[in-house]
C-alpha cells in the first residue's frame, strides 16, 4: 500500500479546526496501548493522567503554575514560527530571564518595596530578549542557522546558571547547597487567591500575553507583516517589509516572554535560584505552540493540556508506580500526531494499492488509440 497526497485547492477549514482534536484522540489511543504494554490498566492510567488532577482545588492551582510558563513561552514561539524564525532556544532564554530577574533580590537584598517586583519582572524580560537577540544578530549579520545557535545557547545558559549558584551567588549560609539566598517577601510573586495554595500571578501574565499576541497577529499591520514574511519572504520584501527587522522582533518578543516566564517561575514557584529551574518548559512549549496551531488563543488551551500531563505524570507515578519518563514520551507522541494531522489541512490523503494506476481515459487518449 502506498500513500498518495493530493493537494487541496485551498486549506480545509474543517481539518484546521479538527486536526488538534484528532491528534489528541490518537495520542490517547496510543497512550493506552503504551500503558498496556507497561503492564498497567490503560483506563486507570489515563484517569490518573487527565482526570484526577482536575478533581481538587489544590491541583487545579498547581495546573496553572505548570501551564503559565508553557503558555507564555509558546505564545512567543508562535510569533517566531509564524514569521519563519526557528527559535528553539526558549529554554535558555527562560534561564537567562530567571538569572537577570534575580539580580536585584540576590545582589541588592537590602532593596525592598513595591517597586522591587516590577523591576525584577522587567529585568527578566530584558535578559530573555537580549539572550534571544544573539541568534537573531548572528542570523541577520552572519547568515548563521538560528536553529543550531539558539540551541547551543541553551547549554551555555544552563552551565552559566550552574556556575552562578555554585560560585558567585551561592548562599554563604546555605550549608554549601548550590542555591542563592531565599528571596524576601517583596520579591515573591503574589498568590492569585488570597488564601490559595500555589497559583500565582504567572497565569495572569500568560493569559494577558496570549490575548495581546492574538490581537497583534490577527488585528494589526505588524501581524500582517509577520504572516507575510513567514509565508513568503520575497512577497514581504516587495511589500516593503524588512525581514531582518522581523528576525529581531520575533526573537526578542519570544525571548522577553520566555524571560518573563523564567523570572516568574523563580520568584513565584521556587523562591531562590538553583542549578535547574525548568523541567524542560522551553522544549515542551514547542509542542504547545504547534498543538495550539500557532494561534495564541489556541495556545491557552494546549498549554493547559500539556501542563496537565506534567501533573498527571506525578499522579500516575505516585498511584501506579508509572515512570515519570512516560510524560515526555506522551508529549513527544502528541507533537508527532499534531504534525501528521496538519497534513490533512493542505492535502487529501489517498491510499493506493501496489498496482500501477490505470491511465485515465481521456478523449485525446481515445483519439490516439483510434488513429
Amino acid at each position: 500500500m502506498r500513500v498518495e497526497l493530493v493537494k487541496r485547492p485551498q486549506q480545509s477549514a474543517l481539518f484546521s479546526a479538527l486536526s488538534p482534536f484528532i491528534a489528541l484522540v490518537l495520542t490517547l489511543i496510543f497512550g493506552a496501548i503504551l500503558f498496556s504494554l507497561l503492564g498497567k490498566n490503560p483506563f486507570d492510567a489515563l484517569y490518573f493522567y487527565f482526570i484526577d488532577p482536575l478533581r481538587e482545588m489544590w491541583s487545579l492551582e498547581a495546573l496553572t503554575v505548570k501551564a503559565a510558563p508553557l503558555i507564555l513561552i509558546a505564545v512567543g514561539l508562535s510569533i517566531c514560527y509564524l514569521s519563519n524564525n526557528w527559535n528553539i532556544g526558549a529554554e535558555g532564554q527562560f534561564v537567562i530571564g530567571g538569572i537577570f530577574g534575580s539580580i536585584l533580590p540576590v545582589m541588592v537584598p537590602e532593596f525592598q518595596g513595591p517597586l522591587l517586583l516590577p523591576l525584577m519582572l522587567i529585568m527578566g524580560m530584558i535578559g530573555g530578549a537580549l539572550y534571544a537577540a544573539i541568534p537573531a544578530l548572528l542570523k541577520t549579520r552572519f547568515n548563521t542557522n538560528e536553529i543550531l545557535t539558539s540551541l547551543m545557547l541553551v547549554y551555555i545558559a544552563q552551565l552559566f546558571l550552574d556556575w552562578l549558584v555554585r560560585g558567585w551567588w551561592r548562599d554563604p549560609k546555605g550549608n554549601n547547597f548550590p542555591r542563592s539566598i531565599t528571596f524576601s517577601d517583596d520579591a515573591v510573586l503574589p498568590k492569585l487567591l488570597p488564601n490559595g495554595d500555589s497559583a500565582n500571578l504567572g497565569i495572569v501574565f500568560a493569559l494577558v500575553a496570549a490575548v495581546l499576541a492574538w490581537i497583534l497577529v490577527t488585528r494589526t499591520l505588524k501581524g500582517f507583516e509577520i504572516r507575510v514574511l513567514g509565508g513568503s519572504p520575497r512577497a514581504g520584501r516587495f511589500a516593503g517589509f524588512s525581514s531582518s527587522k522581523m528576525v529581531f522582533f520575533a526573537f526578542m518578543v519570544s525571548g522577553a516572554l520566555a524571560g518573563l516566564a523564567g523570572i516568574s517561575e523563580v520568584s513565584g514557584a521556587i523562591g531562590y535560584l538553583q542549578p535547574t529551574i525548568s523541567p524542560g518548559y522551553g522544549f515542551t512549549a514547542i509542542i504547545v505552540a504547534f498543538l495550539g496551531r500557532l494561534n495564541p488563543l489556541g495556545i491557552i488551551a494546549s498549554g493547559l493540556i500539556l501542563g496537565l500531563t506534567y501533573l498527571g505524570g506525578e499522579a500516575a507515578q505516585i498511584s501506579l508506580g508509572l515512570s515519570d519518563k512516560v510524560v515526555r514520551v506522551f508529549q513527544g507522541m502528541l507533537l508527532f500526531f499534531v504534525l501528521g494531522c496538519d497534513t490533512l489541512i493542505h492535502y487529501r490523503v489517498r491510499f493506493v494499492g501496489f498496482a500501477a494506476p490505470k491511465p485515465v481515459e481521456t478523449p485525446a487518449l481515445k483519439a490516439a488509440e483510434g488513429a
Binding site: K7, L138, F142, N145, T149, L159, R328, V329, L335, H346
Partner: protein, 306 residues
C-alpha cells in the same frame, strides 16, 4: 603509555561518535532532507545499544541493537516528512523530543548498572609500537568503522552513479522526479542510513566512550553533528576534520578541568557549545559560498504531482 599518546587516543574516541553521526546526516542532507532528529536517534541508539548489550552480555549485539534502533526510529521521521509531507524542521524536533523521552524509559532500569565495554583491538607486536602503535592498531572497532564509513561515503557520493543521483535529488527534486528517478524511495533509504549512523554513534557512547547508561547522555552531540555538516559545507573529508577538531576541544577542556587552572569547570564544559556557535558564524559569513554549497532542495517538502 605516554601522555601524548593517551591524549590522542581519547581525542579519537571523542571524535568518533560525532564523525559517524555527522556522516549519516551528510548523506541525508545531500538527498535534500533536513533531519533535526539526530540527537533523538543518537540517544535511542545509546539506550538500546546499552540495554541489548546488558541483556545478552555481548557488546557486539549491543552495537547491532544501537544501529537497528536508530534506523527504525528514523522511519518515523521518514514516514511523516516523505510520505505525508510534514514540515521537516518541526518533525525533526519532535523526533528529538520523543527520542529523549523514550530512551529515558527504555534505559530506566539500567541506570547505574555496569555496562559491557566493547574491547579494543589488540594485535601483538603492532599494537606495542611506541606512540603510533595503539593509535593505529589498538583502538575500539567502531573507530575503524568510522574511518571506513568516511571512505565509503566519499566513494558512494562522488564515485558511483547512485551517489550522483542522490546528489541530484538534493539539488533539484523536481527535475529528478521528471527524469523518472524515484525521489521518495531514495530519500527513505538516505534517512534510514542516517538513522543507522546516528544509532551507531549512540552505541559508541554507551559501549565505548562511557560504558554506562545515563539519561540524556548524548548531551547535545547530535546537534553538534548537525552543525558539523554545515561547518563541513556538506563534504565528508571536512566532516572528518571538523569531528577531530571538536574531539580535541572536548578532550582539551576535560584535561584543563583535571589540571584545575582556576577556570570555572562550567566555562570549560561550555567550550564545545561555544566553539560550535563560533565555527558556524565563521563558516556561514560568506552568504554566496554557503548558498553554493547547500543542497538546493534542502528542507523543502516534495509531493510528486505524478
Amino acid at each position: 603509555m605516554g601522555i601524548a599518546e593517551s591524549i590522542l587516543l581519547t581525542i579519537a574516541t571523542a571524535a568518533t561518535p560525532l564523525l559517524i553521526a555527522a556522516l549519516g546526516e551528510l548523506v541525508v542532507e545531500r538527498s535534500g532532507v533536513l533531519n533535526l532528529g539526530v540527537e533523538g536517534m543518537m540517544v535511542m541508539g545509546a539506550a538500546c545499544g546499552f540495554v541489548a548489550a546488558a541483556l545478552t552480555g555481548s557488546p557486539w549485539i549491543g552495537v547491532f541493537g544501537g544501529i537497528v534502533a536508530g534506523a527504525v526510529f528514523s522511519l518515523l521521521f521518514a514516514f511523516l516528512t516523505l510520505s505525508i509531507a510534514t514540515n521537516q524542521v518541526a518533525t525533526g524536533l519532535s523526533l528529538t523530543l520523543l527520542g529523549l523521552g523514550l530512551s529515558g524509559m527504555i534505559g530506566e532500569n539500567f541506570v547505574g548498572s555496569a555496562g559491557e565495554r566493547l574491547p579494543s583491538l589488540y594485535i601483538p607486536v603492532l599494537s606495542d609500537i611506541p606512540l603510533i602503535g595503539k593509535l593505529i592498531f589498538g583502538q575500539d572497532p567502531i573507530f575503524y568503522m568510522s574511518i571506513a564509513l568516511t571512505v565509503g561515503v566519499i566513494w558512494f557520493l562522488f564515485r558511483t552513479r547512485t551517489g550522483l543521483t542522490l546528489r541530484s535529488i538534493g539539488d533539484n527534486h523536481g527535475s529528478a522526479h521528471a527524469l523518472g528517478i524515484p525521489v521518495i524511495r531514495y530519500r527513505y533509504l538516505a534517512v534510514i542510513f542516517g538513522g543507522a549512523c546516528a544509532g551507531l554513534a549512540g552505541a559508541h557512547l554507551s559501549l565505548v566512550y562511557t560504558p554506562q547508561w545515563v539519561e540524556n547522555m548524548t548531551a547535545g552531540r547530535g546537534w553538534i553533528a548537525l552543525a558539523l555538516v554545515v561547518f563541513a559545507s556538506w563534504r565528508p573529508l571536512r566532516v572528518l576534520a571538523g569531528a577531530y577538531l571538536f574531539g580535541a576541544v572536548t578532550i582539551g577542556q576535560l584535561h584543563a578541568q583535571a589540571l584545575g587552572l582556576g577556570i570555572p569547570s562550567q566555562l570549560l564544559s561550555a567550550l564545545p557549545y561555544l566553539a560550535t556557535v563560533i565555527v558556524l558564524v565563521l563558516i556561514s559569513r560568506n552568504r554566496r559560498l554557503t548558498m553554493m554549497n547547500t543542497p538546493a532542495s534542502l528542507g523543502r517538502a516534495f509531493v510528486p504531482d505524478r
